[in-house]
């Protein structure tokens, strides 16, 4: 980056390619040569250094609160570090990890995270795709529909979870009353294993379906119109157009939402915590809906083992990287098949 232009796009006109820096000196202004050369030097310095100055504040915060803690968590996961005595850490090596891998509760949390992740993500994205398809028609009051669909996204995790906990309550809950009125026995949503996982998933589905529908809608609006025209000339029905034009064109977006939802599902925490009430961090009396996020919090701030909580965090990252790798493989396979 010596004397070339500082901009990403077209080079500047001018004999030296130095752009403005050459200008004060050659413009023949009534300023003395010393000030103008001083000024052009300052100016050149400003041009060179400014990008770094612009990204510096972001990276300072980012390094201190994002990157550094990430590595420090790795260090903490190799130590015994207790909440009751923060200044004392004993080297354990991989003991935290081996303890976790031998703990039934860890595997239980991993399994719950996976089940709740699947039953909250799959229906959510499928419904979002359908809703987006409907929102893509010419509608009266289209903005109003979109805003209404997005209202759950503006509802905080805590508010939504408290409301759904009451809707799924054993006594006087709306859901049991509804299924009772069509002849089913009431379900103890909090105590039963599948019931509690379904209830927790329903909070996630309710909050995020509209948001994902808007993301799909944005992608649908970018599909070239003539693709549909030629498809309908070929005699494709509306369903076939959706199946063979819309879905393939949306593939990158679908992959993107799958990745984002997977990351979200891996760190699920607030919904089960509040759904559990007083036994929140345990994920119910039998840990039946304890997720990895809850398990980490329970280990670190309820039981006070911060070292072990750090190990849970690193295992979470490992799991995410594995999922990302599998996703990449699937995406590549899909591309090859076409």
């Amino acid at each position: 980056m010596s004397e070339t232009t500082e901009y990403a796009e077209t080079p500047l006109p001018g004999p030296s390619g130095e752009g403005g820096a050459a200008r004060p000196a050659t413009a023949g202004r009534a300023s003395s040569p010393t000030t103008s050369s001083w000024r052009s030097r300052l100016y050149r310095w400003d041009t060179k250094a400014s990008p770094y100055v612009f990204v510096a504040p972001f990276f300072l915060f980012f390094g201190a609160f994002g990157l550094f803690p990430l590595l420090y968590t790795g260090w903490a996961s190799l130590h015994r570090l207790e909440l009751t005595n923060l200044n004392d850490s004993t080297w354990l090596g991989l003991e935290n990890y081996t303890n976790l891998l031998q703990s039934d509760y860890f595997w239980n949390a991993l399994g719950n995270t996976f089940t709740i992740g699947v039953i909250s993500t799959v229906p959510q994205l499928a419904m979002a795709l359908g809703i987006a398809h409907l929102l893509n028609y010419k509608l009266r009051g289209s903005t109003l529909w979109r805003v209404a669909m997005l209202a759950p996204y503006a509802t905080s995790v805590a508010s939504a979870s408290l409301v759904f906990t009451l809707l799924f309550a054993w006594d006087g809950g709306m859901v049991n009353w509804m299924i009772g009125s069509v002849g089913f026995d009431p379900v103890n949503w909090r105590e039963s294993s599948w019931g509690s996982q379904f209830a927790v998933s329903s909070i996630v589905i309710w909050r995020w379906t509209g948001y994902n529908a808007l993301i799909y809608l944005a992608a649908m609006q970018a599909v070239p119109h003539d693709l549909y025209e030629s498809a309908s000339l070929d005699g494709a029905s509306r369903w076939q157009q959706f199946r063979h034009v819309t879905i393939p064109m949306l593939r990158p977006t679908i992959l993107f939402t799958v990745v984002v939802s997977t990351i979200g599902a891996t760190q699920l925490f607030g919904e089960p915590l509040l759904f559990g009430g007083t036994a929140g961090s345990k994920g119910g009396a039998d840990h039946q809906f304890q997720t990895l996020g809850l398990y980490l919090y329970d280990q670190g701030w309820i039981n006070g083992h911060l070292g072990r909580a750090s190990a849970v965090a690193w295992l979470m990252l490992l799991i995410l990287l594995l999922i990302a790798a599998v996703n990449l493989l699937i995406a590549r396979r899909l591309r090859k098949d076409r």
Binding site: G20, D46, F65, L134, L150, T155, V157, A158, W206, H225
Partner: protein, 285 residues
Amino acid sequence: MKTRARTMGLKAGRTMHAGPLTYAVLSLFTAISLAPLVWTAIAASRTQGRLARTPPPLWFGGNLFKNLERAWKEASLGDAMLNTTIVAGSITLGTVLFSTIAGFAFAKLKFRFSGALLVLTIGTMMVPPQLSVVPLYLWIADLQWTNQLQAVILPTFVSAFGVFFMRQYLVQALPSELIEAARMDGASSLRIIWHVVFPAARPAMAVLGLLTFVMAWNDFLWPIIALNQSNPTVQVALNSLGTGYIPDRAVIMAGALLGTLPLLLAFILFGKQIVSGIMQGAVKG
């Protein structure tokens, strides 16, 4: 790219008129989206005794203001709302300012390692917040910041998503000729930021501000570790309510309603911008 194609009059997407069935299905989904919120208000206007009986109430009772007052005072939601406004406001300011400046540098300026730094920034968007809470906790314990608002503000004062969002916007919204013209006139970098970049970035800054405010208001994991009921944010106060702080369902619902009300108001006012922001940030295929 695609938005430009649309403004040039090339039609994208489908423009078929919706039939009655479309309206019916959309109405159903809208009802599902809004019903829990409406029912929160209904439950907040009842009493603990009434909410334990079947069938659940389907219309408003007369206890709304009493319950709101109890949530406001006894569950400290009044203090919590003030705290959360300070926290979310500061985070929004920091994020919008630093994201715009850094996003501009990534979009329009050439500098060494810019590509690698951008990849690093995007890569960390994938990392769960759980990976930093232990060191952050040790840190604030060391600084004796537990229960203080700066402990919640500083870790999310800048955002990788924000930088990426602004970069994507400025690449196409800010003509390089404008910056070059300002350079030719001998404008300093600070002047260019102030007079060229900020005006061009204003619409995206507003959208990023709204999205950041919603995210900061709803942030859950770190605040409940860093703060407690004596100096809570809304989420911390609601968490205490949910774990039996006040075992009165009507008051809990009043709290849930209060905690979401400011955001719902923002939605009624700026819903259109938030929708377009989410849709703009989405098209990356």
